[in-house]
């Protein structure tokens, strides 16, 4: 009896693997040339607003201590 349960579990697992692979295999894919072109395009469109690429000036240092104003 336990042997049958064991083999049922293996069959179940194998069936799940097949089902999972069927899901993955059915996916629509695009060519790497297209995908890569889009990755490049995204980088270039956003490069000017990437602070680690353009650097930030001392005056806009985000971690500089802010001085408070006291109104007399």
């Amino acid at each position: 009896m336990s042997g049958k349960v064991c083999s049922n579990n293996s069959v179940m697992q194998a069936r799940r693997t097949v089902e999972q692979l069927q899901v993955e295999a059915s996916m629509e894919r695009i060519k790497i040339s297209t995908a890569a072109a889009q990755l490049v395009q995204y980088c270039q469109e956003n490069s000017r607003s990437d602070p680690l690429l353009t650097g930030i000036s001392a005056s806009s240092n985000p971690f500089k201590d802010k001085k408070t104003c006291v109104l007399l």
């Binding site: 179940m12 194998a14 993955e24 894919r29 990755l39 607003s49 680690l52 353009t54």
Partner: protein
Amino acid sequence: MSIQDVSPCVKCYIMEVQPNETLTNLKAESDTLKTKLEDERAKLHDVELHQVAEKVDGLGQFIMKTRRTLKGHGNKVLCMDWCKDKRRIVSSSQVSVWIIVTFSEEHAVTMPCTWVMACAYAPSGCAVACGGLDNKCSVYPLSLDKNENLAAKKKSVAMHTNYLSACSFTNSDMQILTSSGDGTCALWDVESGQLLQSFHGHAADVLCLDLAPSETGNTFVSGGCDKKANVWDMRSGQCIQSFETHESDINSVRYYPSGDAFASGSDDATCRLYDLRADREVAIYSKESIIFGASSVDFSLSGRLLFGGYNDYTINVWDVLKGTRVSILFGHENRVSTLRLSPDGTAFCSGSWDHTLRVRWAALIGIHIFGTRGTVV
């Protein structure tokens, strides 16, 4: 009603061995499908990313010094996360969780927990989540009152059957996604602690996860000791894509800012880039001289730079498009365990087994001309 609608335990009973569904036949079928998958992916492999990127201007020299070193932990730093206000971070270590209020003061609120391998800031900035060897993920609401005992307000949300390796709030304070040494990921309702969805598919410990940028829908990616990176549909619990090209544990995964790709860092000493629409690995970031595992990866805002923290104490900065290393950042005196870009992309913070966190940003002086072909910025 199909077999899909039936619960797993009932499936066990009603399943009879059909003539075409013996174990051997199923294994043969899965082998055929695997080969088919590889063939389909190979057909679309018409070019390499770095070839497409040949026309792109190279990056100049990088100067990114440590601007702040935070030393309060006194223990190996295991994880850190930024608050959306960009000025606070939460970090965790072997014995505590620590919230830094501002960078000008090293203000720490210590909450004793066991080995805290994961921590995350809530989107509102009003709570943090953390967990580790306690197998749980707990949420602590934050208070401005320094004297308040935050540990008393702790709320246990997630319960796994092995260590918590990573956690992340979704786009609200209401839900948390977790990954665990028990091989699963799970989505939880914070208020009730209810399990909303579980994600099964990894064959070993899951070490990391990252949520897709909100514009690209309800998916997330996870990486594990089974060397696989899986992409999941959060609503159905279904694994929709799986990548198995790493040669060892995947310690870190991070989405490319557009959501169309993700990077991974592994004990095999490489970082890799996977494009989701091509369903394939499209770049490997490695060097013969780099032999220690990558523990943590993150992109710069434009996706052009990939920062990798390594077990050889360094941070390697990679040109994502060209596949070359742009810079090595020194400073840590032990393994780099965690690394994250600030929410506005101006800085990044790394945490290490040397008990410190270091914050770096790029100074304007001395570097950088970057622009499209023919123009100078």
